[in-house]
């Protein structure tokens, strides 16, 4: 559609290359011919972001083959398992590595350059049959608590998300969105779809680097950007360290994908006074965003002296008008404002479906496994994963409350609380802490007293471990199962 509306407008900029909407559509048709001919059951991308990502995404859709972008940072064993689950696949990426991992699974393998060259060369040819395939995407979840699940998103889910949140061709010609999230993440895919639908030029930055990000904003006059909190933190650190760039073109920065520390967003609002900030909360299984805190709400909270309004900076805003959201207790009863429970959502963009089974209940509600609560005005606050709750002798303990207290200690740079096995209680609290450079390691009794002084005695950790760093994935999500493992040894 974007290609029909203005085929010559530049839709994508990546590493010095420029592609018009017309050129992208032509290449997608070429890619679809190659994909259809291969007879493969999935199209996989095993690469950093590049022009190959949108060409493969749309090419796969035209060919009617589900698109499965994979995390190229996975260890060989994990990746081999995923490649086995999608065989035979049309795979774009590091051909040597793929052939080494799965030499005999019938995959059709192309390097990124060979794929793009083939797609561009085959842009004209016989008509492609219209596809009946309803599955658009299969994304392996990041698996912070268990092995990766294959989440399925149908065209109907993605279309509903795009129609519900973006207006077609609404972007002015100078608008450009800097996309630096990896192509295998739902935010990376949603960024491609939303930007192309709005006809906002995409500036792809493969492999995030704060200096490169700042340079690209200045060089291409980026107006929009999406970052995860860790990226924003690195960008601000570099600005504080004296890296200068003209960022006056930035009208909007959206963030999500992890918990945003209050100090960080406060600092960002101060450093980018004319930029509108949007906090987006969503999951792979919900086709990305389901709730958002908009620019005006950010500024209002940032300026407010009222603790309730100010506290909303720590919320993820209100649900989209196109989705329903409820907080429920363990028995599935709907909870009133202020009470913590599991977040349930329902709507056309919500798939809640895995290759193996659907997680939707009979009424179409999806249990997100995220814990949270709503305030009186409908602002949603997240409170960790429901699976992260520590159950000590029948009492539910949220890791966040313990971590927040530990973080108030001047010598503690980072902290994680997880369940550790206990003969007496079934589960008890274990914590891992990282000590700030230049500080002495606090005594265990000091940390226990700190928690005892602020929280109930059941929250006092049974085990305390000091670590150099906590394990995070590349999107800045804490890998709690890794912390658990480390605390059990």
């Amino acid at each position: 559609m974007a290609a029909d509306a203005d085929p010559d407008r530049i839709g994508l900029v990546c590493e010095g290359g420029r592609w018009s909407y017309g050129a992208l559509l032509a290449a997608a048709h070429g890619a679809a011919r190659a994909i259809a001919e291969s007879g493969c059951l999935h199209v996989a991308l095993l690469e950093e972001s590049s022009e190959a990502a949108p060409i493969a995404l749309f090419g796969a859709a035209i060919a009617g083959v589900p698109y499965v972008p994979l995390n190229y940072r996975l260890a060989d064993a994990d990746l081999t398992a995923l490649l086995g689950r999608i065989a035979p696949a049309f795979i774009i990426g590091d051909t040597t590595r793929i052939m080494r991992l799965t030499p005999d699974r019938g995959h059709a393998v192309r390097s990124r350059l060979a794929f793009v060259a083939e797609a561009e060369a085959r842009s004209t040819g016989g008509d492609l049959p219209e596809s009946e395939e309803s599955v658009a995407l299969q994304l392996f979840t990041s698996g912070t608590t268990a092995a990766p699940k294959a989440a399925v998103l149908r065209h109907a889910n993605l279309l509903s998300y795009i129609l519900g949140t973006v207006e077609f061709a609404a972007a002015a010609p100078e608008e450009a969105a800097l996309v630096c999230v990896p192509p295998y993440h739902i935010a990376g895919i949603a960024a491609l779809l939303s930007s192309i639908y709005a006809m906002r030029r995409i500036l792809l930055l493969p492999g995030f680097d704060a200096d490169a990000w700042l340079a690209l904003v200045e060089a291409e006059r980026a107006t929009n950007a999406f970052v995860v909190p860790t990226m924003l933190s690195r960008i601000i650190t570099r600005i504080d360290e004296g890296v200068t760039a003209d960022v006056s073109s930035l009208q909007a920065i959206a963030y999500g994908g992890g918990r945003m520390p209050m100090e960080l967003i406060d600092r960002a609002l101060h450093l980018f006074p004319d930029t509108g900030f949007t906090n987006a909360y969503g999951l792979t299984e919900t086709s990305s965003t389901i709730a958002l805190l908009g620019p005006d709400e950010h500024r209002e909270a940032h300026r407010s002296g009222d603790q309730v309004v100010r506290g909303r900076l720590a919320s993820v805003g209100r649900p989209l008008p196109t989705v329903e959201l409820e907080i429920r207790d363990d028995e599935g009863r709907c909870l009133p404002p202020g009470e913590r429970g599991e977040i349930y959502v329902r709507g056309e963009q919500v798939s809640g479906e895995y290759r193996e089974r659907s997680a939707l209940d009979r009424e179409g509600w999806f249990p997100t496994r995220d814990a949270g609560w709503l305030d009186e005005e409908g602002f949603l606050f997240l409170a960790g994963r429901a699976d992260d709750v520590i159950v000590r002798g029948g009492e539910n303990i949220s890791p966040g409350e313990i971590e927040d207290v530990l973080m108030t200690h001047p010598a503690i740079a980072d902290a994680a609380a997880v369940a550790v096995p206990s003969m007496e209680w079934g589960e008890a609290v274990g914590v891992a802490v990282v000590v700030r450079p230049g500080h002495a390691v606090p005594a265990e009794s000091e940390l226990r007293d700190l928690i005892k002084g602020r929280l109930r005695s059941s929250r006092v950790p049974e085990r305390i471990a000091v670590m150099d760093t906590l394990p995070y994935n590349e999107m800045g999500k804490l890998l709690r199962r890794e912390v658990k493992k480390l605390l059990q040894t």
Partner: protein
Amino acid sequence: MKPGTRLKSTVCETEVMVIRVGNGAFECGGAPMVDERLAERGAPNPAFSEGTKIGKRYVDVEGGAELLCVKAGQGSLSSGLVALHVKDAKPLPSSD
């Protein structure tokens, strides 16, 4: 007809994508819309000539029909000669 079908006006430049089919009878400028453009262009019925805007969604709430305008023109859209109205969607801030 199914959602995703592209239709063209016979009286102006308007092109739409069907989002909700409703009864499937779509007109532009008072004349039925078609899959492929006709060689000769008709004139819009003055009662249906307010024009279409790119990116806007046009709905008939009762009939359950919805069209997305992907190319603007001078005719206006209707379904069974019931005028479609611009869907009043509050723009959301870009979240990705």
